[in-house]
Symmetry: C2
C-alpha cells in the first residue's frame, strides 16, 4: 500500500538569495521520514539562504550540499548518510514519540539499539565469543588508568612500546598502578618509526601486559601486520582509538583492545573496550567502580546510564560499515586514499615532506611539512577557503596534517591533492 509521495517546495517572495557577499548556498538536505525500507515518504526542500556567519567561517566554495571536507583528527568527520539519518530520527525515533536522547537506557527501544551496536561490532571485527564488548565513558585517557588497575597488582611489571604521544601518556599514567617499563621508545627519532622485530624491544619476562598504541595521530605512525610476540601469560594490549574499524584485526592476539569512538566510529563520549573474559575481575581493591571491567561486564554496559546518543551513533556507523562490505572493503578504500596522498607528497620533489618511515606511515593521519611555517599557514588557510578544513598540524608538532579516516570521501583526498599540486605550481619559485 505504499504510495510514492514527493513534495516540491514553492517559494513565495523571490528566490531568497541574499545579496550580501557573505551569503552561501546551503541547500536543505533531502529528508526521508519513517523507516527507509518501507512506506517511506520523501520530501525534498531546497532553499537558498544567508546565514550571517562570522567572517572567519565563511566558505566560498561549497560542494556536497554545504558540507566541507573535514580533515580533523578527532572528533572527526562522520559518514554524511549517517549524520542525515540521525538528523531525521532525532526528534521522534521510529515513531516512539521521543528522541533517542530521551529514552530510558533500560527500555526495550534503547536496549535494541545497544544490542544491535554490539552485534554489528562483533560481526565487523569477528570478535570471538570469549571477549566482552564494553561501552564506556571517560575516553582512552580513563583506560590508561583502568588497564593497569584491572590487569595488574602494584608489584607487577607492564611493558610499554611508545611510538608517539598517546602511548607515552598511557605509559606515564600506568606508573601509578604497576611497575611500568619502557620497552621501546621512538622519541629519539621524533616518533617516526615503529619497532619491526622483537629484538629491538626490552621486554620483561613475566610482564603482565605489553602495551602498544596501534596508530599515533600526532606523528602518523601505524602498526601494520606486525605486533610484538608476547610471552606465555603476558597480555597484548592495544589502544586502537584512531584506527579502530579501519581494517580487519585478529582480536584473538590481544587481551584488551580499546578505542575512543571519536576518530573512526562515532562522536566523542563513548569509548569501546574489547576485553578477554578471563581478564575481567581481580581489579585492584582501590579501583573506582566505574573503572572496573567487571562492573560493566556484569551489567552489559548498563551499570549506570551509558552515553546513549553516542552509542546510538556508533551503531549507525557499524551498520553502515557492514553495508559497505565490512572491514576488508573499508581497508581497501582507506589504503587507496592514503596512497593518493602519500604519492602526492613523495612526488613533490620535497615541496611537501613526510618524515615518517615509509613502512609505518599511518593510513589514518598524514602529517607533512612545507618550507616554512608561513607557507604551511598559507596552504592551510587557502584549503579552508576551498572547503577543506582542519588541516593544521597538532599544536605539539606544527606542520600540516590530513586525517583521512573511514568517513573521509575519496573525493576529499583528491581535492586536497589537486590543491597541493596547484599550490606548489604557484609557489615553487619562492
Amino acid at each position: 500500500m505504499a504510495r510514492a509521495l514527493v513534495a516540491r517546495s514553492t517559494f513565495l517572495g523571490g528566490d531568497g538569495r541574499c545579496s550580501s557577499p557573505a551569503s552561501q548556498v546551503s541547500p536543505f538536505s533531502h529528508v526521508r521520514i519513517g523507516r527507509p525500507d518501507r512506506r517511506q515518504r520523501e520530501i525534498s526542500c531546497t532553499a537558498t539562504v544567508g546565514t550571517g556567519i562570522a567572517p572567519s567561517s565563511r566558505i566560498e566554495s561549497i560542494e556536497n550540499d554545504g558540507r566541507v571536507y573535514n580533515f580533523a583528527a578527532g572528533p572527526a568527520t562522520l559518514p554524511a548518510n549517517v549524520v542525515k539519518k540521525a538528523q531525521q530520527d532525532l526528534y521522534n525515533w521510529q515513531g516512539c514519540g521521543m528522541s533517542i536522547m530521551e529514552m530510558s537506557h533500560r527500555g526495550k527501544e534503547f536496549l535494541s539499539v545497544i544490542q544491535k551496536a554490539e552485534a554489528d561490532l562483533r560481526a565487523l571485527l569477528a570478535i570471538p565469543d570469549n571477549y566482552e564488548v564494553l561501552f564506556l565513558q571517560g575516553g582512552a585517557s580513563t583506560l590508561f588508568s583502568a588497564i593497569p588497575l584491572n590487569l595488574c597488582s602494584p608489584e607487577d611489571t607492564a611493558d610499554f612500546i611508545v611510538t608517539g604521544s598517546w602511548g607515552d601518556k598511557a605509559y606515564k599514567e600506568a606508573q601509578k598502578y604497576c611497575k611500568a617499563n619502557l620497552a621501546w621508545s621512538g622519541k629519539a627519532t621524533k616518533y617516526t618509526s615503529i619497532p619491526s622485530s622483537g629484538s629491538e624491544l626490552k621486554l620483561t619476562p613475566g610482564a603482565k601486559f605489553v602495551h602498544v598504541c596501534a596508530n599515533e595521530t600526532i606523528h602518523g605512525v601505524e602498526f601494520k601486520d606486525w605486533y610484538p610476540a608476547v610471552g606465555e601469560g603476558t597480555i597484548l594490549v592495544a589502544d586502537m582509538s584512531s584506527n579502530f574499524c579501519s581494517k580487519p584485526v585478529d582480536v584473538s592476539k590481544f587481551g584488551v583492545i580499546y578505542a575512543g569512538a571519536q576518530k573512526n566510529v562515532g562522536p566523542s563520549g563513548v569509548t569501546i573496550a574489547i576485553v578477554r573474559k578471563d581478564l575481567v575481575g581481580g581489579a585492584q581493591p582501590t579501583t573506582p567502580v566505574m573503572l572496573d571491567f567487571k562492573t560493566h561486564a556484569d551489567n552489559k554496559s548498563l551499570y549506570n546510564t551509558p552515553p546513549c546518543f553516542a552509542i546510538y551513533m556508533c551503531g549507525l556507523v557499524f551498520e553502515d560499515l557492514l553495508h559497505q562490505g565490512g572491514l576488508e572493503a573499508i581497508a581497501r578504500k582507506n589504503n587507496d586514499k592514503a596512497e593518493i596522498l602519500y604519492r602526492a607528497i613523495d612526488g613533490s620533489d620535497g615541496f611537501y615532506k613526510c618524515p615518517v618511515e615509509a613502512s609505518v606511515r599511518s593510513v589514518m593521519n598524514v602529517p607533512f611539512t612545507m618550507a616554512s611555517p608561513e607557507m604551511e599557514a598559507a596552504f592551510v588557510k587557502e584549503a579552508a577557503g576551498k572547503g577543506m578544513v582542519q588541516l593544521k598540524g597538532h599544536r605539539s608538532v606544527g606542520g600540516v596534517r590530513a586525517s583521512i579516516y573511514n568517513a573521509m570521501p575519496r573525493a576529499g583526498v583528491e581535492k586536497l591533492v589537486a590543491l597541493m599540486k596547484d599550490f606548489q605550481a604557484r609557489h615553487q619559485a619562492k
Copy 2:
C-alpha cells in the same frame, strides 16, 4: 535586505495516509535554516506517514506532533523546542559545513559552544567566581570515587547522610578512599524522610566533608531549604543530579555540587561538577588522571576530548531556561506541576498512595502505589496506550513513578491526573 520566504509543500500522489491501523500521524516539524535572529528562511513541510513500528511501540492517541509525555527518570524528556533546534542544526551547524559532532573540540566553533554553556550555567545558578565549572564524563557514579579521592586523604573522615539509593552508593564507594561514616540513614523508614535538623545527625567533628543527595529519584525525597550546617573546615557536598537547575541554589553553601545531566539538563554522557577553587589540587596520588579535578580545571574541561554533543545539548537547555526567566520562574512551574499531582494522590481516598513525608516530597520524582501490583501494571499500561510512557516504578521498589522534570509540560501532568481520576472511577468498586 531580508526577504520573508515561505515554502508550501505540494503533495503529488494522494495524501499519503497509510491505511494500516498501525499508522500514526508524524508531521514533519517546522524547520528553520540559518541563524534565527536574521536573514532566516523558513520552510514548513508536512507529511502523513506510516512508520511500520513494532506493535509494542504503537501509540494510539498522539498529541504534540507525535510526541508522547515521557515520565522517565533519566534519561528523561528534554524541551521539545531544544530537540527540534538540535535536529535542525545536526547536519550543518550554523553553516560550518559539518555537524557539532564532527568538530574539533579545540576549534573556535566548539569553544564558543562550551564557553557559552558555562556562562549560561553560571548565570542560571549565580555561581560565584571562586568556583570552577567542569564538564566531565563518567556519570555521578564516577564522582562517587572522585569526590573522596580529591577531597580526602585515606585517614580523613567523611560523613554521609543517606536518604536513598544514590546517597547509599556514594557512601559505599567512598569507603575505598577515606573513612566514610554513616551520619544518618533513612533506611529504617524505607527512605521516606530527610533529617530536619542537625540534632538527628551523627556528624564527625573535623570531617573533611558531609555528603548529601539533594533529590533521590527512586524514593522521591528531596532536600528543600534545609541543609545540614557543617563545621569550620568541613565541606558540604551535594549530588544534585536529579534536581539540578530545577530551582535556585545558594552555591556558596557547598564545596562541590555535581550532577549527571540526563535528568533535567541534557542527554546522558556529561556530568557537571561545580567545585570551589580551593578544593582543586591535592588529590590522592593514585587518583586516576581523569578523576582529578585539577586535570579538568587546568584545562577548562578540554584535557582530552569532552563529550561534545552532550555539552552542546546542555548549552541549548541552559539557554532555554534563561529564556523562560531563570530558575525562580522554573521553580514556580515545577512546584505547580508537583502540586497538581500530589493533590490528586492525596485526594484519592487512598486509591493512590505516596508514602513520602509531605515536607520532603520530591518536586521531580513522584512515586506512588496502588492496591496491588496488578492494578499498577494495568494503570501503567493504559497510560502508555494514551501517550504517557515510562510510569513504571523503579525495579527496586515497584509501584508507579512519574518523573516530572523541568521539561515535562504542565499539560502532561494534567493529562496524567485526568487519567488517574478516570481510572479510579472505573476501578473504585474493585
